[in-house]
Symmetry: none
Subunit: 188 residues, 4 copies
Amino acid sequence: MSRPRSDEKRTAILEAATRIIVLQGLGAPTAGIAKEAGVANGSLFTYFETKTELFNHLYLAIKSEMAAAILNNYPAGAESRDEFFHVWRNWMDWALANPHKRKALAQLGVSDEIAAETRMAGHTMMMPIVEMLERARARGAMQTAPKGFVVALMNSVAEATIDFMAQDPEHAQKHSALGFDALWRMLS
Amino acid sequence: MSRPRSDEKRTAILEAATRIIVLQGLGAPTAGIAKEAGVANGSLFTYFETKTELFNHLYLAIKSEMAAAILNNYPAGAESRDEFFHVWRNWMDWALANPHKRKALAQLGVSDEIAAETRMAGHTMMMPIVEMLERARARGAMQTAPKGFVVALMNSVAEATIDFMAQDPEHAQKHSALGFDALWRMLS
Amino acid sequence: MSRPRSDEKRTAILEAATRIIVLQGLGAPTAGIAKEAGVANGSLFTYFETKTELFNHLYLAIKSEMAAAILNNYPAGAESRDEFFHVWRNWMDWALANPHKRKALAQLGVSDEIAAETRMAGHTMMMPIVEMLERARARGAMQTAPKGFVVALMNSVAEATIDFMAQDPEHAQKHSALGFDALWRMLS
Amino acid sequence: MSRPRSDEKRTAILEAATRIIVLQGLGAPTAGIAKEAGVANGSLFTYFETKTELFNHLYLAIKSEMAAAILNNYPAGAESRDEFFHVWRNWMDWALANPHKRKALAQLGVSDEIAAETRMAGHTMMMPIVEMLERARARGAMQTAPKGFVVALMNSVAEATIDFMAQDPEHAQKHSALGFDALWRMLS
DNA sequence: CATGAATGAGTGTTCATTCAT
DNA sequence: AATGAATGAACACTCATTCAT
């Protein structure tokens, strides 16, 4: 009956927000995001009721895309280390291929605009990875450590590795392997 | 640049800024910081020309306090692992004793208000620690890795450990040991 | 101007506007009026070109309904006072039975959105009442006063009376009589 | 120590608001009011926290000025009718001399921005007048009517009279007398 | 130097109206 | 004709910074 709400436009807004956040931070005017997305100022608010809601949706969208990429072609049943390395490689690949999304996600993750529930939902998407990590550390030195602590360590090693790969892309593979080995040593 | 009279007021502003940033983020109004510091709104700008300058000074102030704390009573000449653990313990102690400063520092570190030079100066203060790290990894698995990478890993493991200690203070010592061991395993 | 199809919808919009104006004032969004009327946002504008036009139509619609109610069963030829009291009673009855319409009319009457012509048309509908008033004051103390002045006094006494009846409905009849007597004394 | 808040500016804003409200209604932008007052956009908000607060203050300011004017040189102890007429004349004089204030007050009085407490405070200022009215009607036909009703009638007759005086200023005195006589007849 | 009022650019959001479907 | 998405001007209010006192 009427012009249907366009998924294209919604996506355009999310992508524009990603780009703008990288360039200008979370304080960037919504007007700028709308312009970058090629829609009118007010249209942004037919797709997302507030700026905060837009940010929460963007956070989840990127996080779930990332989780899906990480879990792509997951080799269930392989040896623990190989299984883990497959995931690690997917992780690094996605991060390198999507530097904007990664940067935006980092900014969003640090912001207090992101609701607790949104973060929770994001964690849920990473669950399979966390379970894999659980199996990997089951017999090593960290078997008694709290789960959350191991997850935090994995995340921070991954982030550090990615940072370094991104700023020295020529030796990306080498850094990836170094990071993974370091993590594996930590868990062993 | 002539120094304004009262060092007390300068300090009060920096401390107020720390508290306010923790509560309200970097977007907090300067008026609020001034009020918390017990000075007038406009006085803030006789001590720091702009909000950005205030933030850069605060970043450096906290960072150097932290570095000094970490290096306190540095046992030059001790065994590598003990030497390192002393530093690690100082690091964790300072972080637990100064949660506000740590949180503010985290926010500042992520912000794009902090100039490259400020970050560099911050790194400089950490130099002795980095050198110690260099000695520690000299014969281990990471001996060929670029220096910056190892530093990044150390930082991120430390941060993850602190996060976990802070949210579960009862087992702080245990987490500290776990974190240190994990890091040491990484370097070995 | 071709009449849009459905008189029902037109009426629904006018009635919705009445209710919404009472609740939210003239600043109420057209979207809200449309929703209350059960039509789409944009449909409102096929029935009334602008919000202002809607308001002008609503003003006239209520005013003419009121005038018709007041003149209902007009007892032509009766004694002056009885004739007048019949009108007065109709007036009060309508106002009490239609508090929303009265409130909306009050708001509209005060607004500068209502065009001079609309007001004039409204006055025209009250003409028979005014003529009756003219006969009633023909021999009293107000016989030399300008017509408009007497009309204004009648209106304001009526409004005051209605206000009071509405906020104290138990003694409505008493207030009605008091108001009428007061008005009659004024005219005598 | 610092530039003191200026009563002149506060007054300028209130007067500007009066003028702008008459011309453009209550929907007028605060920016316009500030400009008319010769102050910056934001300065308006150092004197009045919100637009609504400005309107409430303006309402009270005008109302109390009006009450003071009405009670000016109040001839305590005079004959009831003379006493009342003195008040009535003051009322009419003030209204004619301050048409803008009267119009603005009318708009404000009708608006739902004006808080109940503000209205109450306004009524308080009119108290002495109401008491005088009470004495005036003590032995007349309206002696049994509720106080509020009589007050409402007085107000509405006064308003109607003023309206008519304003739109036909040449015969202002005549209308004033007619209105007063009508009111007096009502009370007798 | 201290104070806090003054400034005015900047921002998220609303909403009457238009228009594609 | 009906729908509701699209548009963009408008607006109250904030806030870093300046400046009169």
